[in-house]
């Protein structure tokens, strides 16, 4: 294990158990639901938020790319997991890690929730800088929380963020390559007043 992972993990996880309030906040943030739901709910809201037809179409095409990037990020994580099944910190160092989360059974690298959170936050950032920055900050807090809770190494969360942002870049590139498909989707939705 590299010294950066070990030292950072032991420092952050060493803070666990000192403050009930901080532990409670980290337990909620590290979970599978809060950050993901806030991200997806933001995507839903932004679908309706464009002020002109042109702005709406630009936003909706980006939102479709954001949704596609979540699928791509999951695919990338599954592929990487099949190549390298890195054991979780609480498995590799059971004597030194305090686990504040359920003992995940899937490989540690890259952190899947972080990949998804960054893919969504990146898509939102492309549409609305302020909202996107808030979601990126929330995803970063979740990344720190995963290390704090002893469920991931720092490089797992950094890798997750990179995978998420690369998936978004890939989805945007793919959008340009398969431009008629999102356009057709939006035109069909427009017929039913949904775009």
């Amino acid at each position: 294990m590299n010294p950066f992972d070990r030292e950072t993990l032991l420092f952050l996880n060493g803070l666990a158990g000192r403050s009930d309030l901080l532990d409670a906040v980290m337990r909620i943030v590290v979970g599978d639901y809060l950050v993901a739901v806030l991200g997806v709910v933001t995507l839903v809201g932004l679908w309706f938020a464009g002020k002109t037809p042109a702005e709406r179409e630009r936003m909706q095409v980006t939102l479709l790319a954001g949704a596609a990037s979540v699928g791509l990020a999951n695919l990338a994580v599954t592929t990487i997991n099949s190549i390298w099944a890195r054991p979780r910190p609480f498995v590799a160092m059971p004597e030194s890690v305090k686990l504040l989360f359920y003992p995940s059974t899937d490989p540690s690298f890259p952190a899947n929730p972080i990949a998804v959170a960054f893919a969504i936050a990146g898509a939102v950032w492309l549409i609305n800088r302020r909202l996107g920055t808030s979601l990126i900050a929330l995803a970063a807090v979740q990344a720190v929380a995963r290390v704090y809770a002893g469920v991931a190494y720092p490089t797992d969360t950094i890798g997750g963020a990179v995978v998420g942002l690369l998936a978004l870049t890939g989805a945007i590139g793919l959008r340009r390559l398969i431009r008629p498909i999102p356009e057709m989707t939006i035109r069909l939705a427009r017929a039913f007043l949904l775009a």
Binding site: D23, A24, V25, R27, I28, V30, G31, D32, Y33, L34, A36, V37, L38, V40, V41, T42, V44, G45, L46, W47, F48, A49, G50, K51, P53, R56, V70, N74, L99, L100, F101, Y102, P103, S104, T105, N112, V116, R176, L177, I178, R179, P180, E183, M184, R187, A189, R190, A191, F192, L193, L194, A195
Partner: protein, 201 residues
């Protein structure tokens, strides 16, 4: 209790959260987009306030539900132990306030929701919220009549309700979809022909 019993509890609460939070997010979105035909309350400010309230209520309901719904939320003997850890039996009951932050942290192998299950049920909740918004918005804003010629797509909802604009919009689409499809096919071919540029000069 089996993981399927736990999953059923999760799905019910998650569906409520995704429905209510999506309803709120849509109200926030339409207030910024000025789509008056989808407002559930009169006025932008009230619609926006309702949106914030519904998003917060939806998320809070999911995380607070273990306080009144029995489930595998309680901590096991020995204090705050992660639920399901080490295969220990988990008592079935209401969560204490103390256990609330960890109550939803249950692995999908023990009855929590996997990413795919979340995506599926979120989609169900969000689609239901869209249907509700379109229906209720049409009832609440039934007095809204467009003085201008009807616009295409969501833009029409700035001046009229969903139900009154739906028929003309579908009729318009039925008249033009073949031309649009031909245009998009041509665009697809152009994209396809233009894409392998790397080897070119």
């Amino acid at each position: 209790m089996t993981p399927d019993d736990v999953r059923a509890l999760f799905i019910r609460d998650y569906l409520i959260m995704s429905y209510v939070a999506s309803l709120g997010a849509i109200q926030l979105g339409v207030s910024f987009g000025g789509l008056r035909g989808l407002f559930l309350l009169p006025g932008r400010a009230r619609t926006r306030a309702l949106g914030v309230l519904l998003v917060c209520a939806g998320i809070a309901s999911f995380f607070l539900a273990p306080l009144w719904n029995p489930g595998p939320w309680g901590s096991v003997a020995g204090g705050r132990v992660v639920i399901g850890a080490g295969g220990q039996p988990v008592p079935w009951g209401r969560a204490a306030l103390y256990d609330l932050p960890q109550a939803r942290n249950i692995n999908d192998t023990n009855g929590g929701m996997s990413g795919n299950t979340q995506a599926l049920w979120f989609a169900v909740g969000a689609i239901s919220a869209i249907v509700t918004t379109c229906t209720l918005g049409s009832i609440v804003n039934r007095g809204l009549r467009s003085p201008a010629p009807p616009s295409v797509g969501m833009e029409a909802l700035k001046h009229t309700t969903f139900l009154s604009a739906l028929g003309p919009s579908i009729q318009c689409w039925r008249r033009t979809w073949r031309d649009e499809f031909r245009g998009l096919s041509a665009l697809a071919w152009l994209t396809f022909l233009k894409s392998p540029r790397k080897g070119g000069s």
